[in-house]
Amino acid sequence: MKILPPTMRQRKRYLAFELISKEKISRDELIRELFSSMGSLLGDAGSSECSMRLLTFEDSKGIIQCAHKRTEQTRASIATITTIGGRQVLINIFGTSGTVATATEKYLEGVKVFNLEEQSHINW
């Protein structure tokens, strides 16, 4: 099928994030939890408005796509994630951007995911 002309396409925002956890979390597990937490907070109708997608996820950081007018709701539902498969996790959003390229460039390139053990030793 022919793709929609640019003016008819839904506008998007890209959220660059890091996943803080003591154990490794797989992409599939993260996707399942993202949708389950959004479904629980916003319901099916609300989730469909957000049109969230996980684009990339590597080395505990990645990019989530969402509808540009639903960024706050998407943020909130991501923030309500507490565990994935019984393992404690915490998702921190570095920032949002209008394109994947700037989101990657501005927030993800060369950034190391927060590691609590390293951090609390350096500072104290």
Binding site: I20, S40, L41, E72, Q73, R75, A76, I78, A79, T80, T82, Q88, V89, L90, N92, I93, F114, L116, Q119, S120, N123, W124
Partner: protein
């Protein structure tokens, strides 16, 4: 005005809960907070500690758990001089009332009681007069699921309406019991939006209200209460008031 400085004024540490102050501080710094208040429950018998650095404040706090209003007032007297942030563990009708009627209290934490929001027009008026902030503890939304969270959200919505009407200070906190419960300021604001709090209100709940609590000059010598202070005689002579 510049960038607002954010504070999380209700965070629990070891032994009240599982994370150390060092861990909580490291994460709070990473999230861009300017300070934390370590507010362990008074019934776990912890001495409040303060070890701040130049760019990050760690405030001494306490969350007082009391079974009756008279015991509460006693405990407030005991802790007030030693802490920066005095929180009352709410959720009981009599305790909520006693807390908002005492100007020495900074924050009434989680006033909601099951189906009831725990706040009404009378308590709100007292809270406003005595400058006691009402807490919206976002851990209830972050960690809760299903019916209980629905109830929490509607309680928060009710409290928000009452607080707006009577101009009660509002405070957003994580009430964290582990560092995994903490959220960055932007996330806190987004979650607050879920129960109808506007972005401006949420920003000031995390920054201005919190700052106001920290800066109350209670410890200054000669301080009696908000707006009243004893000025030494030498100070009066020195002014040389030209009549």
């Amino acid at each position: 005005m510049g960038k607002p400085q954010f504070y999380d004024l209700n965070v629990h540490s070891r032994p009240d809960n599982e994370s150390t102050i060092e861990e909580l501080t490291a994460l709070a710094k990473h999230f861009g907070y300017s300070g934390l208040a370590i507010t362990n429950h008074s019934n776990t018998a912890v001495d409040p500690v303060a070890t701040g650095t130049e760019d990050f404040e760690i405030l001494r706090g306490i969350e007082i758990v009391a079974t009756s209003p008279s015991k509460l007032h006693g405990l407030i007297g005991k802790y007030r001089k030693n802490v920066d942030v005095l929180i009352v563990h709410g959720g009981n009708e009599n305790i909520n009332r006693a807390a908002v009627e005492n100007p020495n209290v900074d924050v009434l934490a989680h006033p909601q009681m099951g189906r009831q929001s725990g706040l009404n027009h009378i308590l709100a008026k007292s809270a406003s007069e005595n400058n006691v902030a009402i807490e919206f503890n976002l851990d209830a939304i972050i960690k809760g699921r299903g019916g209980r969270r629905v109830q929490t959200l509607s309680n928060f919505r009710t409290n928000l309406n009452i607080a707006r009407k009577y101009d009660v200070p509002m405070l957003l906190t994580s009430n964290a019991s582990s560092y995994f419960d903490m959220r960055a300021p932007r996330e806190m604001i987004a979650i607050a939006g879920m129960f109808g709090m506007s972005k401006n209100e949420a920003v000031s709940a995390l920054s201005l209200t919190a700052k106001g609590i920290i800066q109350k000059k209670r410890s200054k010598p000669g301080f009696i209460r908000e707006g009243v202070e004893v000025i030494g005689e030498d100070v009066l002579e020195g002014t040389g008031d030209p009549l």
